[in-house]
Amino acid sequence: MGKRYSAWEIFQRGLAGQRGWGPAWRSPEPKARYDVVIVGGGGHGLATAYYLAKNYGVRNVAVLEKGWLGGGNTGRNTTVVRSNYYYKASADLYDYALKLYEGLSLDLNYNVMFSPRGMITLAHSRHDMEAAARWAGAMQLNGVDAEMLTREQVARLVPALDVSSQARYPVWGGLRQPRAGTARHDAVAWGYARAADRLGVDLIQNCEVEQFLRAADGRVVGVQTNRGRIEAAKTAMTVAGHSSVLAEKAGFRLPVTSYALQAFVSEPLKPVIDTVVLSLATGIYVSQSDKGGLVIGGGLDLYPSYAQRGNLPTAQGVLGALAEQFPRFGRVRLARQWAGIVDVTPDSSPLIGRTPVAGLYMNCGWGTGGFKAIPVGGTVLAHHLATDEPHTLARPFGLDRFQTGALIDEAAASGIAH
């Protein structure tokens, strides 16, 4: 168990040339049996382990990660945190996550660099303005902060944006969620990992699940991995981008299609944009990281993919729109471009809770927006694993909604064209 991080410790280590910090978490050998095994060491899996140990005292827990912690979609997203959803069930879920993000650095004793810099959704026509007003109204009814902006207010908040009358995408105004913002994605994974480890959770990297262990009655009772057999009273899967693959191993199918979602980071610039901007017309969004790089995202590559790399036509569309809307970014060079695989459900809402197989639970299908939900995804799945009852917030998001018809269609609020 590592020490508690503090300003005093940074000072002390500084006197010793910042040596002797030691690893932030242990690397234990897997035990033969756990109370809970979580497959997938990204943000959601690590948060589930942390809240199991912290909120429910379930500490005999292992998180199995086939690569390295946070190396999947947690390390590939564009770090935006927001709760500007349309339906009450979604707003409650995502706003709970946003509230946890607000106190996360203190809770985890790890600086996740949460920066509530606000997010502006641009409206480019009278119809966009009407849609935005309806959206803002829904958010306010859901108890989430929202305000409408005029064109002049947008121009003042985002000086780099072309709001002129000659603009290819004229700006009529927008919708703003002031409490939205960004957080450092790696730090969220590492913070949860370190905090879970301190509570006794085993984090096991380079450990790939090959198949599920089944009892005579079909119940999942653990996993067979490349590092041996690990039994578990309960098994959870939190494997964004691979939910269908793992479900297939367990013998069921999900209402999920996997797509590549691209992101781009530019060379570092001086501060030029201090909020997050999303355009309803072009589907692109941009913010600036603390290192100065523009962090840019857009729509999906619109065919199923597990390739973790984007295709050129989508990249051209995203970057062309960016250069059109922010003319001064037209000559900025990109430092990196990549893609993550997102598991999209038909109603663009997540799948949380029981699977059709006894002993196996899931938290998946967050589509293009899983990062912002990490704290709540962990909270509600931990609740379900510990109590065997769905958390109130997660109850509407069970797999059964695709039979009952109680879909929660958030295609628009997901913010990504798909």
Binding site: H242, S244, V245, E248, R253, L254, P255, V256, T257, S258, L302, Y303, P304, S305, Y306, A307, N311, L312, P313, P346, F402, Q403
Partner: protein, 95 residues
């Protein structure tokens, strides 16, 4: 960038096409004999394989016609394109 062979127009660039998702989905029936679970699976569940996948594409900015593509979802290699009414000759996926 994919180079997709439309059965009518020949090899054309990816932006001319749109993908319509998994192909060869059969609507269950008659309706009164279909359970909620079967109907839900028909509407929503997809194979979503990591590997060869048979899917429908339309040459939206070309001849406008639909056809089938067998494509690997990891390498994006196109294994075959064939007509809507044909069966796939490519190595079998699980559909």
């Amino acid at each position: 960038m994919l180079l997709i062979s439309c059965p009518w127009c020949g090899p054309r660039a990816e932006p001319e096409f749109r993908c319509g998702g998994q192909s060869h989905i059969r609507r269950p029936g008659p309706p009164e004999a279909v359970s909620d679970a079967e109907w839900s699976a028909y509407l929503f569940q997809r194979l979503n394989p990591k590997g060869p996948h048979r899917e429908r594409w339309v040459h939206a900015f070309g001849c406008g016609r639909w056809f089938n593509v067998a494509r690997d979802t990891v390498t994006h290699e196109i294994l075959e394109t064939y007509l809507m009414t044909e069966a796939s000759q490519a190595r079998a996926d699980r559909s």
